[in-house]
Amino acid sequence: MGSIIIRLILALCITAFLGACSAKKSIIVLMPDPDGKTGAIEIRNQGGSQKLDAPNQATEVQSSQTAPDPPRILTEAEAQKLFGEVMAAMPPAPVHYTLYFLTDSTRLTEMSTRTFEEALASIGKINPAVISVVGHTDRVGDRAQNFRLGLERANQVKQMFSQRGIDSQIVETTSHGEDNPLIKTPDEVAEPRNRRVEIIVR
């Protein structure tokens, strides 16, 4: 009889310490982005909705039928207790490099030649699952043409990687043509900053 009570007390104590990923009520918290800015989210269910738009604002939700609670600020300690393990499991952010080409050429600008070397160095350090090479253009020319031009530039960079010993199997080339500009412009406006290849190491 005595030993059963002791085992029960032990089990309860262990459960009480289990802060990570367990709580009495579901909770949703808005976190700031790495660059310090915070966006906004809205939680909606059959009971109602709640918007969160300040960093570390949280709302608890009893069930899908009950409206989310009014927001409160989650303390650092609470966030660490509930989400510390999850936050530690977040992947490192993908590393981005942008290469610019000399006008009407497949040669990199001098600055971009240096950027290319930096990209090679970080590929050596990270163990990437994939290296994404995405070609972009400005809005001069028609969309289909620009899609092809973007792809040509991306393949050019893939060649450059291959020549430096990077396994082509993990290099993926795509083109966003004129559809993912760095600087938004009206159609047919030249913008050298959009004529680029983006390298993303994941």
Partner: protein, 148 residues
């Protein structure tokens, strides 16, 4: 003659299956701790760093475990212990105007940092949980679902 025909048939099937799988790759496993696996159809695969994840894969973790994935648009998702997440939809072809991400948190806890789809088309990022759906404007949030 027949043998070479069979060989060609098998090879073309193998290539088409590979091509299909490549098309619906949503992302890659980037962090693993403890018991973390991917349920693909009926097969449970232990998660490994740099492993590819497809849409409809169920990401699962056991006790004292965690799993982190990066999607092709830079969205990052981390699972804590005893959690389950499915990426039921992932389209990332900005050049074709196709973009969409639908993540379902089935149980446990998760941190979600939206990527390029969240920046270019936040209305196309859907996140559902057992207690409600979350709409977002290019952001990072965490959810913990209490055991019923």
């Amino acid at each position: 003659m027949f043998k070479s025909f069979c060989l060609i048939l098998v090879l073309s099937l193998a290539f088409s299956i590979t091509a299909q799988a490549a098309d619906d790759i949503a992302g890659y496993v980037k962090t693993v701790k403890g018991e973390a696996s991917i349920l693909r159809g009926k097969t449970l695969i232990p998660a490994q760093i740099n492993q590819k994840i497809s849409t409809s894969d169920v990401l699962k973790t056991g006790a004292d475990s965690s799993l982190g994935v990066t999607l092709r648009d830079d969205t990052m998702i981390a699972l804590g212990s005893n959690s389950e997440v499915v990426i039921s939809e992932f389209d990332y072809s900005p050049a074709e105007g196709k973009m969409g991400l639908f993540t379902k948190l089935l149980k446990g806890c998760v941190e979600f940092a939206s990527g390029i789809i969240g920046k270019l088309a936040p209305e196309k990022v859907k996140f559902s949980t057992p207690v409600g759906d979350i709409g977002l404007r290019g952001t990072r949030f965490a959810v913990l679902i209490a055991e019923p």
